[in-house]
Amino acid sequence: MTSPSGGSPLNAPPGGEDKIRVLSVEVEDGPNTLTKVSGAIRRRGFHVRGISVGPSRKPGRLRITLQVDHGHAEADQVRKQLERLVEVVDVEDVTADEIHSREMVMATVAAAELDGLLRHGAKVLATGPKGTTVEFTGERDEVGAFVDELHRHGIVDVARSGPVVMRRTA
């Protein structure tokens, strides 16, 4: 994974990117699942850098996309420790794979002038007295660059998602 641009507050600090594993995890949809997954990550000394959870194709299953810093453990330990959990049906470590990866950011900016954001491909969701709310979806470093652009427009409010990934098929 390439380094994100800038060091602004919403972007990960530079460095340490080689410690990040990207995993696509299929789990049973149950009340304990997310606790078990996050607990396994915490107690092995790993650190979640990004997470997104949503339904999977199969009923009763969820798909979790995780970006995890494996710290001083071996890189394959993240997958192996997650595989030990009974709630976890399948783990794919896609770090080294060709993948589509998308993150999303929504922000309300104070500036009326939006050209810089629109050039990046932002979509305007609403305009109101406190500013304009925009949405942007892209790869991690595109979102990073967009966040830098947001800072130049006076951020009133902002929310950034974790990644959603899929293997490239062609």
């Binding site: 330990q77 009974v86 399948d90």
Partner: protein
């Protein structure tokens, strides 16, 4: 039928003989119906930690899962140390805890605690049951998960209203758990590579852990060792996997292992580790562990152990017995000559014998244990606590069979020995059970003496009393600047009177000549018996590797 009956009937169906437990508000329905299920024998403990250790000792001695009942909140939380002990040592256990009614979960009800949250890091799996229709499947799955693959404790937290609800009887048929992987299959090519590497080595060593015992792979290990002329050491929990008096035995490895074992490990060129976690107590300073090894071979049923601490060149994620059996044909064909290496190990065995100080006129722990083991021969179960007593008990007997030495290895839980010995005695009433403990650990769970007395269990308690936290004192003396800090246990009960108060006979022994007669008295007496051995408070465990140092740097006992 009620949910409680469903639970109890399921336990009977799973073949459960004993339940170690303690009633309370949230599991009262289970206790209301318990007497309607006479196949289940319930042992009322005096503290829930005792229940968990009894179930643990029962499981280790019988090979069957130990079963525990506790109520919600403090009852369940008192199990945590016992669950952790079983989890670290891969012991099959099913703990069934009562939870507040499902309608009040999350409202900080009386005796409510998040038991799943508190125990998920010390259980192999856990369930919160909020609906009665979940019960039959959950209990069946719990036993399956606890006893298969790498065994471990499974906790089932059942809301009280579920225990009281009514539903039709359902008998689950089979289990189908999408996320539960059993690594039964052996990679035959990997097994061949491992065997070839072992046979072709100049200085091979095999280390065997608890996994060898759990999979009953001792015959295959012996055949492989003899076929490949390869010396075998065991971990603390692997004791019994290989006969200590065998010419190829290296006895115990790790930072309190034997000198000849550590020499062999540090000079080996091929090291095969079977059914073990390769933890810090085995490796000491990891960067200097087995520095001459060109090929690490790791066999374990848990794939996450591969490369967790030591990256193997050849890995076999499989049951130890199946993996070793798959290596055997390839080893026999190569028939290696290994004379120089084996002669070197024999020299190290002579140069670095186990020894202890006998000359200062005080009772030495080894004097006590050697006499005890002479009586136990290889027919009794010895359950050790944690600390110096544990290592002395591990080193000072030539175990030649599996299943006779029980102790808390991974968690190192003080207070384990007495309740675990009680559990072991319930499992094996035909076999003598000796409980070896220091006075520090003993008082942590001494209340369970009542259980031994109530059931007149033939458990003989060998208290190695040095009036201090001996292992901590030794570490302070040697590795923490000689500052003796908070290790003095002068103010302890009179253990003979304590035993009498609980209703069991006891003796105090301070002299070597009284050791034999005291054991004679213990053996003559039916039921529990305690001997308070006043041992040399300065006695140390040797060999020992200083903290942070490599296995090469082990210290030995001064010559006496």
């Amino acid at each position: 039928m009620t949910g409680a009956d469903m639970v109890l009937e399921a336990l009977e169906r799973e073949g459960v003989e004993y339940v170690f437990g303690y009633p309370g508000g949230a599991n009262l329905p289970l206790y209301q119906h318990l007497h309607e299920h006479p196949k289940l024998k319930h042992i009322l403990v005096r503290h829930e930690q005792g229940a968990a250790h009894m179930a643990d000792g029962y499981a280790r001695a019988s090979g069957r899962p130990g079963v525990v009942f506790a109520t919600s909140g403090p009852g369940a939380l008192n199990l945590v140390t016992g669950l952790c002990t079983a989890y670290m040592d891969s012991v099959p256990m099913v703990a069934i805890t009562g939870q507040v009614p499902s309608t009040v979960v999350g409202r900080d009800a009386f005796q409510e605690s998040d038991v799943i949250g508190a125990t998920s890091s010390v259980t192999k799996h856990s369930y919160l049951v909020t609906r009665i229709d979940q019960l039959p499947r959950v209990i069946h799955e719990a036993f399956h998960i606890a006893t298969t693959g790498r065994p471990g404790p499974v906790l089932i937290d059942i809301c009280r209203d579920v225990q009281q609800a009514d539903a039709d009887r359902v008998t689950p048929d089979g289990v189908d758990i999408a996320g539960y992987r059993l690594n039964g299959h052996v990679d035959l090519d990997g097994a061949r590579q491992a065997a070839v590497a072992l046979a072709a080595a100049e200085r091979p060593v095999i280390l065997a852990g608890h996994g060898v015992l759990l999979s009953h792979a001792e015959p295959q290990l012996l055949e492989l060792a003899e076929g490949a002329a390869t010396p075998v050491g065991t971990t603390l929990l692997g004791i019994g996997a290989f006969p200590v008096k065998h010419p190829l035995s290296l006895h115990m490895t790790g930072f309190m292992g034997t000198g000849w074992n550590l020499k062999a490990v540090q000079n080996a060129d091929v090291l095969m580790m079977v059914g073990m976690r390769v933890d810090d107590r085995v490796t000491a300073k990891l960067a200097d562990f087995a520095p001459n090894v060109k090929t690490f071979i790791h066999v374990d049923i848990d794939g996450s152990e591969m490369g967790k601490n030591v990256r193997p060149h050849i890995e076999l994620v499989a049951d130890a017995k199946a993996a070793l059996a798959a290596m055997l044909p390839h080893v026999a064909a190569l028939n290696p000559g290994r004379a120089a290496w084996l002669q070197q190990i024999d020299r190290w065995r002579e140069e670095h014998p186990l020894r202890y100080r006998k000359s200062n006129g005080r009772l030495q722990p080894q004097d006590v244990l050697i006499d005890m083991y002479g009586r136990a021969r290889s027919e009794a179960i010895v359950v050790a606590d944690v600390g110096q007593n544990q290592i002395w008990a591990a080193l000072w007997w030539n175990y030649d069979r599996p299943g006779l030495f029980i102790n808390s290895g991974g968690a190192g839980t003080m207070g384990f020995a007495l309740p675990a010995a009680i559990g072991a005695k319930f499992a094996r009433p035909d076999v003598p059970v000796w409980c070896v403990a220091g006075e520090g650990g003993f008082v942590m769970t001494a209340q369970e003496l009542s259980v031994a007395v109530e059931h007149q269990l033939d458990v003989k308690i060998v208290l190695l009393n040095n009036f201090s936290l001996g292992m901590v004192r030794q570490f302070q003396d040697d590795f923490y600047g000689g500052v003796r800090s908070q290790v003095d246990l002068t103010h302890m009960p009179d253990f003979v009177k304590l035993a009498e108060a609980y209703g069991l006979p006891a003796l105090r022994v301070e002299k070597l000549e009284d050791v034999g007669p005291s054991f004679d008295a213990a053996e003559r007496t039916k039921g529990p018996f305690l001997i308070d051995f006043r041992i040399d408070p300065e006695a140390n465990v040797y060999p020992i590797v200083p903290i942070g140092k490599s296995l090469n740097e082990f210290w030995e006992a001064p010559e006496s």
